[in-house]
């Protein structure tokens, strides 16, 4: 029997502004044995709306995207002058 599930199999916190990099994997299994795994990615910035994120990602963002980080990121964006 073939089954398909989507899991977030890697969540990383990177850089000065604590961007949260999320890797989602679509895993195909035949009789319980994995036969395929494909990836898609997105990044959650400190100023992002996280209401659509998974509970786990929201928890991580709430922990690392402190007001100090958000302020620093806003200052970084402003410094880019675009």
């Amino acid at each position: 029997m073939l089954t398909e599930e989507t899991v977030q199999d890697k969540i990383e916190i990177v850089g000065d502004y604590k961007h949260v990099q999320v890797r989602s994997a679509v895993v195909i299994k035949r009789d319980g044995a994995e036969i395929s795994r494909s990836f898609s990615r997105h990044v959650v910035a400190p100023d992002a709306d996280i209401t659509g994120e998974s509970t786990e990602v929201q928890a991580i963002c709430n922990a690392v995207h402190t007001q100090a980080v958000k302020d620093a990121y806003a200052a970084h964006l402003a410094s880019q002058e675009v």
Binding site: V14, G15, D16, Y17, H19, Q21, R23, S38, F39, S40, R41, H42, V43, A45, Y73, H76, L77, Q80, V82
Partner: protein, 166 residues
């Protein structure tokens, strides 16, 4: 240590066809600069945004592909709109799969149907520490960032290139 013993030490990592390493491989030397420890292919969802307010857009095509080799990511993006309205500020392209660690530029291979005349294609500008890019037009002899108002109901853009990540 014999080569046979070295291969035997790989144990379950080598199944006769594929070699799986949780660490990395050193190529051409033993320094950290010779180490390759990550290769990954996947997709992402690019999107148009605005620095001061996001436009409302509907896509015909909205495709992003990436391949990461070590600390270098190659991306390909194809976006075509069927409608666009609103938004304010500089036009952004959101949704990069990884956050850049340094400023870079990507090549635009096709840009069509903007509301303003772009006499020559400029580069896509990648900025360190943000997960979006800006398109630099060349309408006045100097590169400047496009506004969100440049989008039309049929804007299309293709671009690709590499940037460094952590």
């Amino acid at each position: 240590m014999s080569k046979a013993r070295q291969l035997a030490d790989l144990g379950d990592d080598f199944d006769g066809t594929n070699l799986t390493l949780s660490g990395g491989v050193y190529l051409g030397g033993t320094g950290s600069a010779n180490k390759l420890d990550d290769v990954e292919t996947g997709t992402f969802t690019p999107n148009f945004g605005g620095a001061s307010g996001n436009p409302t857009v509907t896509f015909v095509n909205q495709q992003g592909y990436y391949r990461k080799v070590g600390d270098l990511v190659f991306v390909q993006v194809r976006m075509t709109l069927s409608s666009a309205s609103g938004g304010s500020g500089s036009l952004k392209i959101d949704g990069l799969p990884f956050t850049p660690v340094a400023d870079a530029v990507l090549s635009v291979t096709r840009l069509q149907k903007l509301s303003i005349n772009v006499s020559a294609s400029g580069p896509i500008g990648i900025l360190a520490g943000v997960n979006f890019v800006y398109y630099n037009s060349n309408t006045t002899g100097i590169h400047s960032v496009l506004p969100t108002s440049a989008l039309t109901n049929s804007t299309s853009i293709n671009f690709s290139g590499c940037y460094a990540v952590a």
